[in-house]
Structure formats: structure tokens, C-alpha cells
């Protein structure tokens, strides 16, 4: 009787455990994701995510659900708002791509340490420098999935007209001194149009000060008082104050669409947004030829270029299945085949040694001519340029954006002042000299504040 009772009670318990739950346990793990690859155009990462969901994800019961495709600035703001539960903010996504600068703001302990999910062999497959960029306080919180560097892009069709009229050559684009001179000439030739845009002045100073042996970041702060800063600043500021170097807000790709600028230095990934045609005020369009050049350098400096690109972060979950699912996706997207498919479609650089070798050993496999040019330019820099990672320090993101705004604002005002005073008949060289001094002082003051 006793045995019978125990048997029945066991059965009841088992039936209760299996039959009375409300949850259907075969649900796939769904990871929400915000990323920056593609913005409003067809996103190459979304294409890869679709492939993952249909293959590896299906097999492993993982669904990556892309909620937002945005840009790196907007994603920082949204992530910080969510992390701080600000009014109107939405829950944090499970996965997101961002720069390491956002990690501290979110809280390192809330982020997944990828190293717990990578074997030694898997870790060793990544390019060391790329992996190192994601290590903060000994924890690998950012997994590199694609990296980029900066190149010079040119609307060759319009530049050729300019060159034909003025006798300038493309070689002058290779060094900043001549490039900034070209800006001034173009401004004059085009009757007040801008030729060139630097998407990130912060990066410009970072690499060009380093190229001259200085340091832009000293003790966790921007240093605008160095001789190297002045050497990098003056030729650039001259072009901006004269006109020809754009100091307006927004991306260069916006002005590229309307030929308001015809060249820029920006991320390799910018290629995705550079159209093959420009649209004029009367809605007519003109097809253009795009040319890509290595990042310019000052002739007396060691060539350096920024190593940039967001990485993949995962919010640490109490549900270990979510952490493992994130790791499955992270590994999948960085497998050589998938990583190459993704980066080639979006203009990025792969993150593993093998994928890097494969890409640059046979660029004939890249079908799109524009992307062939892009990787050709990167290949030219490989070996002769030093790749400079973004330094990470307290509130580096905020310092970067504040510096960016300051430079643009000061130089825009100086440009308007310059034009205005010339119209009043003042001596251009005198005005220029004054404005270079005053703008430099203004920037130094603003940064020190």
C-alpha cells in the first residue's frame, strides 16, 4: 500500500511538473538588437542576420530581431537613456553595436564578458589589436565584428573639371598641406562651393598629432596647447576660414548627394552612402565617377590612420541561454565566410587574421568596382601606415562630441567673419592671420573649459 501510494504520488508530481506549466518550452531565444550598419538604406547586417535566422539560428533556436538601425551617435544617446531609465527611454536591447566609449556609461558589470564564451583557439583567430580594443578593465565587453579605417573619397567627375580648369592634380590630394590648398582653390574656382569635408575633426587631430610624434590625449584630457596640435590645426583652419573645407554639421555623404562637397575623409563604410550620381537644385542628376585614395598625411609626418568601427556588445542576462545565444551569434558573424560577406557588402574590414589575409590576397573576388577601389586603397596603406585605435578615457564620448562642435562652430564663425570683412575691403592675409590666431585661442579656451 505504501509503495503504491509513493508510486502514485511520484506520477502525480511528474504529471504536475510536465503538464501544468503555462509556458511552451520550445520557444526560440529571441535577442533584440540595435545596430549601426546600414542606417536607413538596405542594411548589409540585416541581410546577414536574416541568413543567420534561417540557418544557424533556426538550428540553434535563436532569433535575432533587429529593432533599430541607426548611427553611432544616436545609438549612444539611446543606450545611455535606456541604461539610466530616463523618461521616454525603452528597455535595453539584448545586443547592440557601439563604440567602447559607451560601456562605462552603461555599466561594465551589466555587459557580457565575451571571453567566457570563447575558447583560446577562437580568441586567437581575431586580429589582436581589434580584440584588445574591446577589453575594458580586463573584461572583453566588445566583440569586434567589423572594423574600418578612414580614406579619402573623391567625386572625380567634378574634380576633373576643376583640374582641367586650374591645372591641379590628384596627387595634391595625398598630403594635407596640398589638399587644404586645393580646398581654397576650389572655393575660388566654384564661386564659393566647398570641396572637402572632414567627418570627424577629433580623429583628424588624433592621428595627425600622433604622426608628428605628439599626443592629443594627455592624462585623460584633450591637449590643444601642443605644437603638434597647432601644426595640424593651422593648415586645416586656413582652408576652413577661406572656404572650401566644410565645417557644417551632418555627414559628408549628405553634401555628396548634391555636390555641395566633392571629397571627404571618412570611414571606409561611408562608401555605402556615396551615390554614383548627384542631384542638382532643378532635380536634374549627373552620374559621377568615384575615386578612393589612402588617408592623406602631412609630408613631414609619419602616416597614421584611425582604426575605428563599432563592436558587438551583449547585455548580460540572468537567463544563461540568452548569453549563450549571443555568443553563438557573435561567433557566427565573425566566422571567415560570414564576416567577409558582411564586410565586403558594407565597406568594412574583417576581424580575423584569416579573413584579412583572404580579402587582401585576392581582391579580384570583390565584384563591385567601387569596393575593389576601396580595398585597394586600404591595401596601399597596409604596412606603411600605423593604425591608431581610439583612446578610451573618462567621458571620452562626450569630450569627442564637444570638441567636434567647438571646432565646427569656431571655424564656421571665423569663415563668415572672413567673408564679411573681405567684403568690407580688409586685407585677406591680415584677416586670415588674425582669425587663425583667434580661432585657435577660442578652441583652446573652449576645450580647457
Amino acid at each position: 500500500m505504501k509503495k503504491l501510494c509513493i508510486f502514485f504520488l511520484t506520477i502525480i508530481l511528474l504529471v504536475g511538473m510536465t503538464g501544468c506549466g503555462n509556458k511552451v518550452t520550445n520557444d526560440p531565444i529571441t535577442l533584440t538588437m540595435w545596430h549601426v550598419y546600414g542606417s536607413q538604406t538596405e542594411s548589409p547586417l540585416n541581410v546577414m542576420i536574416d541568413e543567420f535566422n534561417q540557418t544557424k539560428g533556426k538550428e540553434s533556436g535563436i532569433v535575432i530581431s533587429v529593432v533599430s538601425v541607426t548611427n553611432s551617435t544616436a545609438i549612444d544617446d539611446a543606450l545611455i537613456a535606456s541604461a539610466n531609465n530616463e523618461p521616454g527611454a525603452v528597455p535595453m536591447p539584448d545586443l547592440f553595436t557601439a563604440y567602447p566609449r559607451v560601456a562605462e556609461e552603461i555599466g561594465l558589470d551589466r555587459l557580457l564578458d565575451w571571453s567566457g564564451y570563447l575558447s583560446e583557439e577562437e580568441r586567437s583567430a581575431y586580429v589582436d589589436e581589434f580584440l584588445a580594443e574591446g577589453v575594458i578593465d580586463g573584461r572583453l565587453v566588445m566583440l569586434p565584428i567589423a572594423k574600418s579605417t578612414e580614406l579619402l573619397f573623391l567625386n572625380k567627375t567634378i574634380f576633373d573639371r576643376f583640374a582641367a580648369d586650374t591645372g591641379v592634380s590628384e596627387e595634391e590630394l595625398l598630403h594635407f598641406e596640398t589638399l587644404f590648398d586645393l580646398c581654397c582653390q576650389y572655393y575660388d574656382w566654384s564661386d564659393g562651393a566647398e570641396m572637402f569635408q572632414i567627418n570627424d575633426f577629433y580623429y583628424y587631430f588624433l592621428v595627425n598629432i600622433a604622426g608628428q610624434g605628439g599626443q592629443f590625449i594627455q592624462d585623460g584630457k584633450l591637449d590643444c596647447n601642443s605644437e603638434e596640435f597647432e601644426q595640424a590645426y593651422l593648415p586645416m583652419a586656413r582652408a576652413a576660414i577661406h572656404g572650401g573645407l566644410c565645417t557644417g554639421d551632418g555627414y559628408a555623404s549628405d553634401r555628396w548627394k548634391t555636390a555641395e562637397v566633392i571629397s571627404n575623409i571618412g570611414s571606409t563604410a561611408g562608401m555605402l552612402y556615396l551615390r554614383d550620381y548627384v542631384t542638382y537644385q532643378d532635380n536634374t542628376t549627373e552620374e559621377i565617377e568615384t575615386a578612393v585614395y589612402p588617408y592623406p598625411a602631412f609630408s613631414d609626418a609619419s602616416p597614421m590612420v584611425i582604426q575605428r568601427g563599432t563592436g558587438l556588445f551583449a547585455m548580460k542576462s540572468e537567463d544563461e541561454r540568452k548569453n549563450e545565444a549571443a555568443a553563438v551569434f557573435g561567433k557566427w558573424i565573425t566566422e571567415e565566410e560570414h564576416n567577409l560577406d558582411f564586410v565586403i557588402a558594407s565597406g568594412y574590414l574583417p576581424v580575423t587574421e584569416n579573413a584579412f589575409s583572404t580579402l587582401f590576397s585576392d581582391m579580384g573576388t570583390i565584384e563591385d568596382e567601387k569596393f575593389q577601389m576601396l580595398y585597394g586603397a586600404v591595401s596601399q596603406m597596409d604596412g606603411s601606415y600605423t593604425f591608431c585605435p581610439l583612446p578610451l578615457y573618462d567621458a571620452s564620448g562626450e569630450a569627442q562630441s564637444r570638441f567636434e562642435e567647438t571646432v565646427k562652430s569656431v571655424l564656421s564663425i571665423a569663415h563668415r567673419d572672413y567673408i564679411s570683412r573681405i567684403e568690407h575691403g580688409d586685407d585677406p592675409e591680415t584677416i586670415m592671420s588674425e582669425l587663425l590666431d583667434s580661432s585657435l585661442s577660442e578652441i583652446r579656451r573652449a576645450v580647457e573649459r
Partner: protein, 559 residues
């Protein structure tokens, strides 16, 4: 269940026809009664709605969600329509002002970039403010004019603003970008161009807007509608528009304005909540030639199968089956008219999930019935044991006890039985005692009779020896010829004479024979005379002697 009832019936029949232990019989009856009542209660609860039939909970969740979604979409559409109406009127007023300021007519805007740029700068605030106020992902106002009508592709001039980087229903943190319009306006207003920016909106991309643009003027408040879903050129986005015409002071359509509801915005703003089923999601579908297409919202679970946004529908009794590619969904639909267009609100969940939920409910019921049955069985086992054990103990006591007066029981009936049996015992003992006395007397009598019998046997032996001796001596005295004549004469006797003769042999006297045969004395004498003559005897004594001799001879022959 039927099988189970049959088994119980069979067990009951067996119990009735065969010898079944008291406990088993009690168990069967108790189990049957309890099961009957359990089923009765379940049926009554079902009948009075206290418990729901299988699938009802899911249907109810779908129904509730459908009602909520219809209400939400209807309310949102009403809000959008109200804002659209005001938006249209504000645009009409702004256009009128700008034309007046520029001193030109509406027709003179055509092919005039500067005037159109100025117009867009004027309209920007109206478009931007309405977009910020209205639940939407973008706002537009297209004017029935163009910056360049010499181009082969016809297009509309106008502003189309969108929230950039949409990631929540709440758009307060989102930047605004320019999707269509002069780039200088974007520069002026310090905003970015959309990645796929174009200066104007091509005709033919949104046919329903084209239709409205070329339509006749009429009642503005009744002219709005929600379009079907369009893929925005060169983007990953699909959108609908709630649009309304812009009328000039003469009621002529000069443009179309309205709001964009992108699929992402729809998904974020109509995420299903509180339906009790995490996998239910909703969609706003529009019937197209041979299928339905529309926008799908997220669900609580955050997961739904990857589907195309087109569905084919198959209506059933209470539910609708949706097919999208290889995936099947179960749900409910309700028609909803937004402005002048008809749409279908659908709530659904994957068929696999529906089946899994149904299976869970079935499993729950099976588990409940199993547990209830086991509980009944255990109760019956326990109850019958508790009930029968003392009886069995008492019965055992009855079997083994010799003294009923010492018998004890907690069962009053058995207590009575003990008393009855003790009384019976006493009576039996008295009877037994009497019987013993009788037995002893009978034994004594038997002994006496035995002694007599032995004496009688001894006398009988002596008598028989005497008879044998006498017979032997008589035999020696009888003439064998006479005896032979006697034997032969028997066969010549008539039946009556034979009867008389046999009666004499049986030892009957003349009176007894007269009485037996019912004859007179003379008749007997007559028969006697004939018998004597036929047997050659002269007297009854000689006849009996011959007869005894004949009998003895027959016995000897038999031995």
C-alpha cells in the same frame, strides 16, 4: 472513458455473479459512485460556465486582443485623421500666405526652384510640428507642382520628413531627417538628409496618393484614407500613409498631405500586451488581388516566426487560418474602415503555438483526471480498508472464538451478533446436554438390545437348526412321488388358486385370506378343495409342509 465504464460494468457484473471479497465489492461500488459524482460535477461546472471547454481560453484571448487592437487602431486612426484635417488646412493657409508674399499664383510655382524652396521653408514648421504631435513615423505634404516638368519622370515637389533612428513608439528622442525636399531646407533647419534622399517624389510610386492628387475636390473631412503598404524606394522600410487632400480656397486639390506609419512604427506601437498569450500578435491587413498584405506588430514573447507580410486567409467557424509562405497561423479578424478604405484587423498566433497550447490544456485536463482518479482510488482503498478491516477482524474472531460472551467489537451489529451467538451457544449447549443424555440412554438401550439380539440370534440359530433338523426328518418322511406331484400340481393352479396358495405360504390364516381377497368362506373352501386336489394333499398342514420343503429346496438351488 467509455472503455473505463465498460470495465467497471464488467467488474460489477463479475462481482454480482461470482464470489467477491467484501472489500473489493465495497471498493468497486465506492469508486463507481465517486467517479459518477466527479463526472457529474464536471459536467455541471461545464454547463454553468464555471469551467471552460478546451480551446475556449485561447479563443477568448484572441477575441480580447482583437477588440483591444481594433480599438487602438481605430483610436489612433481617428487621432491621425483629426490631425491630418488640421494639417491640410494649415498647409493650405501657409501656401496661400507664401503665394501672396511672393506675389505669384500656384501655377507659377512650377519650374521655379527658388519659389519652391522658399515655399518648403515656409511649410517646414507646419509639417514638422504636425509630425511631432501626431502618432506617426513621418509626415509629408506634396504639392501638385514640380521643380522641373521637362524631366521624363514626373514628380511632386514637397516636403517629406521622417523620424531617423526609430526604435520606440515614443519619438521624442528621435532626430528628424529630410526624406524628400530641398537639401538646403535640411541645411537651414540643421537636419540630415535621409540616406535615400531625393529632391522630389516620383509619380507612380504611391498610386493612391496620385489618385488623391488628381481627384476631384469635395468634403475634406470625408476624404482621408489609409493607404495600402508600400515599400519605400531604396530602403528596408515599408510604410502606409494616412493621407488627405490639400484644397485651395476654391476647393481645388493642390496637393496631398498626411502621415507615414512605417511597419517598424506599427510594430512598436501595436505590440500586443496583456492578452494572456505571449505569442499573439496583431496585423493590419488590406485585401489585394489574391491575398492580404499589411503590417505586423510585435508580441509579448518578442518572437514570432519570420514571415512575409502577405497572407492568404481561410475562414472557419470561430477562427481564421492565415497562411504566409510555409507558416500557418490561427486567429481572428475584424473589418475596419479607416476613412474611405477598408482594412482588416487580424490577431493571430503561430499554428504550432496554438497546437502546443491546446496540447497543454489537454495535458492539464488529463493530468487533472488522472490525479482525481488516483485520489479517488486512494480514498477508496483507504476507506474500504478502514471500513472492512474491523469487520474482517471480528469475522476472524468469530472463526476462532469459542466463547461469544468474551467477544468484543466496535461494530454494533457485530456486537449484537456476538450476543446472539452467545445465546445460541447457550441453547446449543442445553440441547447438546439433552442429546448427550439421550445418547447415553440410547447407548444403554442399544447395549440391552444388543444383548437381546445376541440372545435372539442364538435362539434363531437353534430354531433354524431345529427347522433344518425337522425338515430333514420330514423330508425323510415324505414320499418323493407325492412331493413331485405336489410340485407339478402348482403349475396347474388357477391364478386365484395361486394367490390363495401364496397367501398360505406367507403364513396367512383363512380369515386374513378372506379379507385380503374379499371372498366368502365358502369360496375359500372351494379354492382350498381345488388346491388340495391339484397338489395331492389332504390338509393345510400337509400343504405347508410341502411348501416349506419346496422353499428350502429352492434356496439350496440358489446357493
Amino acid at each position: 472513458m467509455i472503455l473505463c465504464l465498460k470495465e467497471i460494468k464488467s467488474a460489477l457484473e463479475t462481482a454480482q455473479t461470482q464470489g467477491v471479497s467484501m472489500r473489493r465489492r465495497l471498493m468497486i461500488y465506492l469508486f463507481t459512485i465517486m467517479l459518477f459524482f466527479a463526472l457529474l460535477i464536471a459536467m455541471l461546472l461545464l454547463l454553468f460556465g464555471a469551467i471552460d471547454p478546451i480551446g475556449y481560453e485561447i479563443e477568448r484571448a484572441l477575441g480580447n486582443q482583437l477588440e483591444n487592437t481594433v480599438n487602438t487602431i481605430e483610436r489612433q486612426s481617428n487621432d491621425q485623421a483629426a490631425y491630418a484635417l488640421a494639417f491640410s488646412q494649415q498647409i493650405a493657409a501657409a501656401v496661400k500666405d507664401e503665394l501672396a508674399d511672393a506675389g505669384i499664383t500656384f501655377d507659377q510655382l512650377r519650374n521655379t526652384p527658388d519659389a519652391l524652396e522658399s515655399m518648403q521653408n515656409k511649410l517646414f514648421e507646419v509639417v514638422n510640428n504636425n509630425m511631432l504631435l501626431t502618432p506617426c513615423s513621418g509626415a509629408f505634404c506634396f504639392l501638385n507642382t514640380t521643380v522641373n516638368d521637362t524631366l521624363p519622370d514626373k514628380s511632386y515637389s514637397g516636403l517629406y520628413l521622417k523620424f531617423a533612428n526609430l526604435y520606440a513608439e515614443n519619438t521624442i528622442h528621435n532626430d528628424v531627417c529630410l526624406f524628400r525636399g530641398f537639401s538646403t531646407v535640411a541645411r537651414e533647419k540643421n537636419m540630415n538628409l535621409h540616406s535615400t534622399w531625393q529632391l522630389e517624389t516620383q509619380e507612380g510610386v504611391f498610386p493612391e496618393i496620385d489618385g488623391l492628387m488628381s481627384g476631384k475636390s469635395g468634403n475634406l473631412s470625408g476624404a482621408y484614407f489609409l493607404t495600402s503598404v508600400y515599400k519605400l524606394p531604396d530602403t528596408w522600410e515599408s510604410v502606409r500613409f494616412l493621407c488627405i487632400p490639400i484644397l485651395d480656397s476654391h476647393g481645388v486639390t493642390i496637393g496631398v498631405c498626411g502621415f507615414e506609419i512605417s511597419s517598424l512604427y506599427f510594430s512598436l506601437s501595436h505590440k500586443t500586451m496583456g492578452s494572456g498569450q505571449a505569442h499573439i500578435f496583431c496585423a493590419l491587413l488590406t485585401e489585394e488581388t489574391d491575398h492580404y498584405a499589411g503590417q505586423i506588430a510585435g508580441n509579448q514573447s518578442g518572437y514570432f516566426p519570420l514571415v512575409e507580410n502577405t497572407f492568404s486567409l481561410e475562414n472557419r467557424a470561430n477562427l481564421t487560418t492565415f497562411h504566409s509562405g510555409d507558416t500557418e497561423f490561427i486567429g481572428k479578424i475584424q473589418e475596419l474602415k479607416i476613412g474611405t478604405t477598408a482594412h482588416t484587423v487580424a490577431v493571430m498566433l503561430p499554428a504550432t503555438e496554438y497546437q502546443a497550447l491546446m496540447q497543454t490544456v489537454r495535458l492539464k485536463i488529463a493530468a487533472f483526471l488522472f490525479i482525481a482518479s488516483v485520489a479517488i482510488l486512494i480514498s477508496v482503498l483507504w476507506g474500504s480498508k478502514k471500513y472492512v478491516t474491523p469487520i474482517l477482524k471480528d469475522l476472524e474472531q468469530i472463526k476462532t472464538s469459542t466463547d461469544w460472551t468474551q467477544g468484543e467489537s466496535h461494530v454494533s451489529e457485530i456486537e449484537d451478533l456476538f450476543a446472539f451467538l452467545a445465546e445460541q451457544d447457550r441453547e446449543h449447549e442445553a440441547a447438546l446436554s439433552a442429546l448427550n443424555q439421550e445418547r447415553l440412554e440410547a447407548q444403554s438401550r442399544q447395549e440391552r438390545l444388543q444383548s437381546k439380539l445376541e440372545q435372539t440370534s442364538s435362539d434363531l440359530g437353534s430354531a433354524q437348526a431345529e427347522i433344518a433338523r425337522l425338515a430333514y426328518s420330514r423330508k425323510q418322511e415324505i414320499d418323493p412321488d407325492d412331493f413331485q406331484y405336489f410340485l407339478e400340481g402348482i403349475s396347474q393352479l388357477t391364478p386365484t388358486e395361486r394367490k390363495v396358495f401364496d397367501l398360505y405360504l406367507e403364513g396367512k390364516n383363512a380369515k386374513e385370506i378372506i379379507a385380503i381377497l374379499g371372498v366368502t368362506e365358502n369360496t375359500l373352501k372351494f379354492h382350498n378343495k381345488n388346491i388340495y386336489n391339484k397338489l395331492g394333499v389332504s390338509s393345510r398342514k400337509q400343504l405347508l409342509r410341502y411348501a416349506t420343503l419346496m422353499k428350502q429346496q429352492e434356496e439350496n438351488d440358489q446357493q
